[in-house]
Every structure is written in structure tokens, then in C-alpha cells.
């Protein structure tokens, strides 16, 4: 077995924490955004749609830089949140924010595709049975799009596990505080001859994320079986 340095272990733990928090915290927002994009019609919609795609289009470094400008200690949002005890700058929370932002377009797209595949006739039926729009969404739409939500969540998680450019630009690389696995990998890549270390770290990262992928596949299949209902 390869011995892992305490800092590598810290990076692994932090990466898992950052990716989980990023995924869980952004999921409700992603679901709401996907719903708005697929089911509502209002003039500003195109702007929201464009905004959602932004982190996909911009180089990650730019996204990180924009986060720094907005959510840094001197950024407008950062200054607003500081009195509330919420700081992102140079904190693991900032890494989670960066990961969430970078994964957001992937989540929204997957969930939106799923929402658009739901048969509106079922939602109509629920309405005639007395369920209001929110109730219909929670009891009919949400369970039916569960595979899409899972797909979105796993893409968000995987992306968060691999996110580097925006994270290091926004919250730097403070070992034990903001050094995620990708930062550690990048660091190692900068040293001639440290390929061995890179391979080990990559293998860990891949193993963790693939594990999550399989968990989601298994869950999806369970849900599909329940919905499909075949014996």
C-alpha cells in the first residue's frame, strides 16, 4: 500500500465534504431553476437561461475570478454576507460554492430534460383530484423526475470532485482548509518527477467519484423498476 501523507488525507476528506455540500445545497436551487426554465413563460427567462449556462461557457479561471469579485471579502455580496457570519473567501465553503456554481448547469440541464419528459396528462389528472400546482409538483412531478434528479446530482458531484480552476482562483489552495484533491493533483503535476503521486491521487479521486456514480446507477435502477412496475 502507498502511504498517504496527512495532507493528502485532508484533501480527500475536504474534497468529499465540498462535493457533497455543493451537490446537496445546489440541488433544490437546480430543481427550482429547471422547473422555472421548463414550465414558466416570462420576459426575463432568457437571461436566467443564459446565466445558468455561464459557468459552462467561461473558462473556469474566469468564473473563479468573478466569484472572487462578487463573493470575496471586498466583493458586494461578500461584504453583505460577512455580518451574518457567512464568509466564502479562503474557506472550504468557498470551495463548495465554486464547485456548486461549476456543476450547476449540468444539474439544471439533466433535471430540466426530465421535467420536460413528464406527461402533463398525469399532472392534469392530479389537479382534477384536488392537488394544487405545488402539491402536484411534489407528489407527481418530483417522484417521476427522480432519475433526472439523480443524474443531475451525480454529474454535480463528479464535477465537484474534479473542479479545479474556479476553486483555486476563488479560495486559493490552503492545505487542510481549501486544498481539494484536484488542487493537490495540480500541485503534484508542477513538480518534475512527481507523476507517481499524481497517479495515486487521481486513482483515489476516480475511485470515490465512480463509487458515487455506481450508487446513483443503482438507485436509478431501483426507481425505474418501481415506476416501470414490471415483475
Amino acid at each position: 500500500m502507498i502511504e498517504l501523507s496527512p495532507l493528502a488525507i485532508a484533501a480527500i476528506t475536504l474534497s468529499l465534504q465540498v462535493a457533497s455540500v455543493a451537490m446537496i445545497a445546489s440541488l433544490p436551487v437546480a430543481i427550482a431553476t429547471a422547473w422555472i426554465l421548463s414550465r414558466s413563460r416570462w420576459p426575463g427567462l432568457w437571461l436566467l437561461n443564459a446565466l445558468v449556462h455561464l459557468p459552462l461557457i467561461l473558462p473556469p479561471v474566469v468564473t473563479g475570478y468573478l466569484l472572487l469579485l462578487g463573493f470575496g471579502r471586498n466583493g458586494p455580496v461578500g461584504r453583505l454576507l460577512e455580518p451574518l457570519g457567512i464568509t466564502f473567501a479562503f474557506q472550504w465553503t468557498g470551495a463548495a460554492l465554486a464547485a456548486a456554481v461549476m456543476g450547476f448547469p449540468l444539474m439544471v440541464r439533466a433535471i430540466r430534460l426530465a421535467i420536460e419528459a413528464v406527461d402533463p396528462k398525469l399532472e392534469e389528472a392530479a389537479a382534477t383530484l384536488g392537488a394544487g400546482p405545488v402539491n402536484v409538483f411534489c407528489t407527481i412531478t418530483l417522484p417521476l423526475i427522480a432519475p433526472g434528479i439523480l443524474a443531475g446530482a451525480i454529474m454535480g458531484f463528479a464535477k465537484a470532485m474534479g473542479e479545479f480552476g474556479a476553486t483555486i482562483t476563488f479560495v486559493s489552495n490552503i492545505p487542510g482548509r481549501t486544498q481539494t484533491l484536484p488542487s493537490a493533483i495540480y500541485s503534484a503535476l508542477q513538480i518534475p518527477g512527481a507523476e507517481q503521486q499524481v497517479v495515486v491521487l487521481c486513482a483515489i479521486s476516480v475511485t470515490l467519484a465512480i463509487g458515487a456514480v455506481f450508487l446513483s446507477e443503482w438507485l436509478t435502477r431501483r426507481i425505474a423498476r418501481r415506476i416501470g412496475g414490471a415483475l
Binding site: 398525469l122 389528472a125 389537479a127 382534477t128 392537488a131 394544487g132 415506476i227 416501470g228 412496475g229
Partner: protein, 361 residues
């Protein structure tokens, strides 16, 4: 009292209907593609008509003029869709309970166990809906709407996927609901169902109302008989229950005359009605003897209306004024020299009438 007035363009023609429905069961009868589902969708609030006004009692559901449009979940209208629309992620029990959970606590409605028994779906309750046969789905969908305790029930060909035995179990249940005060709009292609259930019948064709009125009027109108599907046309007679004979036949009084029904029916109250299919009636100038047919009514011909292909509809008036319809060949009408005013005897086989033909009015 449901008051429907609406105008809505469809591909090919416009739906343009003005209809008062209820109390009781209003049957909507018309050929495929005539606009029945569209009409019912508008009542449920799933389709916003281009123009018109829909109200249920004093409650305004929709008014294009003032912009009133109650959303479907506020209308409290049960809807059995033409296709079952079961929720695929819920099992049968959860599907059935979906509406029940959201119904007003105070609202009246049938009990869960009664509905499940009546529909014969007790063994299916724990099943996912994906593992149901076509008829099983249809039954669950009926149960789901019934259990939502609606103030009005819309049923779009609810029994089309079911066998006669199943239908015969469901129809009396619907009648009991109707008797308990639930108005029903019932879309159907099956005339026996319509004549059995309907208090009011609305005939619709290419989006327009062809005729609408009390069931016994519409059914005994020989000019509409052809449109109603000649083979199944028939009048409805109002009768009273006269007890059950020893051999199990039920005696029905019709003024001074009697009819026998080949089944012991419990006394369901005084005012009953019985449907007599026009093609089940044989006419005779003399009183016939020694026949297996038990029911022979004296009547007078009031109208002879040519039907299709060598057949005529003969409208007969019974002594107490009720109207009976007979469908015979033109040759027989000629041989028997039937014309308005001719006295004659109408022979109806007891077996031709079913308990299914008898209902409370």
C-alpha cells in the same frame, strides 16, 4: 345544475354547445370525434374555451367575458378520463387514495372498501400500476375519481374496456351515487348503458348539440331513433313495483297492465323505469295465445316512421299515455295495416328485459 355554454375551435369544425345538465345522470352521446371529450375537458378546467360560461349551481367556474377561470384543483370535479392516466410511481392503493386524501373531510362520498369491492380490485391494491391489465387500469381509474368525493362526476367512456359482467356490477353503484345526489356527465357509445343510466340525454355531432332533453323523451322520439343506433333504440316506461311472484318473476305495474321481469328484484321504491328495446317488441292485431312471451300490452299506434333498409319505427301510445317504440319490417307493417290510430298488441319477451334495464327514476 351544471350550466355549460361554450364555443371552441377544433381542427375541422367548431365546438359550439349550450347544455344544462343534472341533477341525475346526463349522457353525452355522439360519434367518434364529435367533441365529447373536448366538452368534458372544458368543464373540468383542463381546456380553456375560446368563449363561453360554465357554472355549477351558484358557483361560476368559467366565464370568458369576465375572465373568471377556476383552476381544476379548485373545481372539485371528479374526472374519469378516456384513458386511465394512473400515476406510475404509486401502487394501486396510493392511486385510489390520491384524491381521497385531498377531499374535504366533510364531503360525502362512497367508502373505500365499497368502491374496491364493487370494482373487484381488492387483490390488486398492493400492485404497481405497470402490472395491470387494460380493464384493471380502467377500474382503478374509476375508483380513484369516485373516492375524491367530487360534487360533479365526469366519466368519459368509463366502461369501454370492461366485460359485460363487470359493467353489470358497476352500473348499479353509479345509480346509487346518482340517487345520493351526485350529478354525473356520462360520455358513452353504448346505448344500453345510456338508456339505462341517463336522466338526461344530449346528442352531439360534429361539435353541435343535435338534441337534448329528458331521457324518455329522446329515447321514444322515432325521428332520433336512427341516430341513436337503430338496432339499440328503445323507449323507457315508468312503472311501479308490484311484488315478486313465487317463481321469482318480478311484477311491474303499468297503469292497469302488468309486465314481468325474469329476476326477483327487491322493491326498489315506487317509481321505476324500464327500458324496452324497439327491436324486442313484436306487434299483433289479435291478442296472441300460447306464447312463451309473458308480456302483452294493449296500445294504439300513434306514428309510423320509416327507418333504414326496409324497417320502420312504430310509436305506440299505451292507455295511460306512455310511449313505446317498436321496430318492425315494412312488410309486417303493411301486412298488419298499421297506421296512426290502429289498436294493437305489443308482445315483449320477459327475458329480453334484464334487471339491467330496470332502474329507479
Amino acid at each position: 345544475m351544471i350550466d355549460i355554454r361554450l364555443h371552441h375551435p377544433l381542427s375541422g369544425f367548431d365546438l359550439d354547445v349550450s347544455l344544462q345538465a343534472g341533477p341525475g345522470i346526463t349522457a353525452l352521446y355522439g360519434p367518434s370525434g364529435s367533441g365529447k371529450t373536448t366538452l368534458v375537458n372544458a368543464v373540468a378546467g383542463l381546456l380553456r374555451p375560446r368563449a363561453g360560461r360554465i357554472s355549477a349551481g351558484s358557483d361560476l367556474l368559467f366565464d370568458a367575458a369576465t375572465g373568471v377561470d377556476q383552476p381544476p384543483h379548485r373545481r372539485n370535479i371528479g374526472y374519469v378520463f378516456q384513458e386511465p392516466r394512473l400515476f406510475p410511481h404509486l401502487n394501486v392503493r396510493a392511486n385510489l387514495n390520491y384524491g381521497a386524501k385531498r377531499a374535504h373531510k366533510a364531503a360525502a362520498g362512497p367508502a373505500f372498501d365499497d368502491v374496491v369491492d364493487m370494482l373487484g380490485i381488492a387483490p390488486l391494491l398492493a400492485r404497481p400500476t405497470g402490472a395491470l391489465s387494460g380493464g384493471e387500469r380502467a377500474r382503478v381509474s374509476i375508483g380513484r375519481a369516485l373516492l375524491s368525493k367530487p360534487r360533479l362526476l365526469l366519466m368519459d367512456e368509463p366502461l369501454a374496456a370492461l366485460d359485460p359482467a363487470r359493467r353489470a356490477e358497476i352500473l348499479p353503484f353509479l345509480e346509487r351515487l346518482r340517487d345520493a345526489g351526485l350529478p354525473v356527465i356520462y360520455v358513452s357509445h353504448a346505448l344500453p348503458e345510456v338508456t339505462r343510466l341517463a336522466d338526461t340525454i344530449a346528442l352531439i355531432d360534429t361539435g353541435k348539440l343535435v338534441a337534448a332533453g329528458p331521457a324518455h323523451h329522446i329515447l321514444s322520439d322515432p325521428t332520433l331513433a336512427q341516430r341513436l343506433g337503430g338496432a339499440q333504440a328503445g323507449a323507457v316506461l315508468r312503472v311501479t313495483h308490484g311484488g315478486v311472484d313465487d317463481d321469482g318473476l318480478t311484477r311491474l305495474h303499468l297503469g292497469g297492465q302488468s309486465l314481468f321481469l325474469p329476476q326477483s328484484s327487491p322493491d326498489m321504491g315506487h317509481d321505476l323505469r324500464i327500458r324496452i328495446q324497439a327491436s324486442d317488441v313484436i306487434l299483433s292485431r289479435n291478442r296472441p295465445e300460447g306464447l312463451s312471451a309473458l308480456n302483452i300490452l294493449t296500445a294504439t299506434v300513434t306514428q309510423v316512421q320509416p327507418g333504414d333498409a326496409g324497417r320502420v319505427f312504430v310509436q305506440l301510445t299505451l292507455p295511460q299515455g306512455q310511449i313505446l317504440l317498436a321496430r318492425i319490417t315494412a312488410r309486417s307493417a303493411a301486412i298488419l295495416q298499421l297506421r296512426s290510430g290502429t289498436p294493437c298488441h305489443a308482445i315483449v319477451k320477459a327475458v329480453a328485459m334484464d334487471r339491467a334495464d330496470l332502474s329507479r327514476s
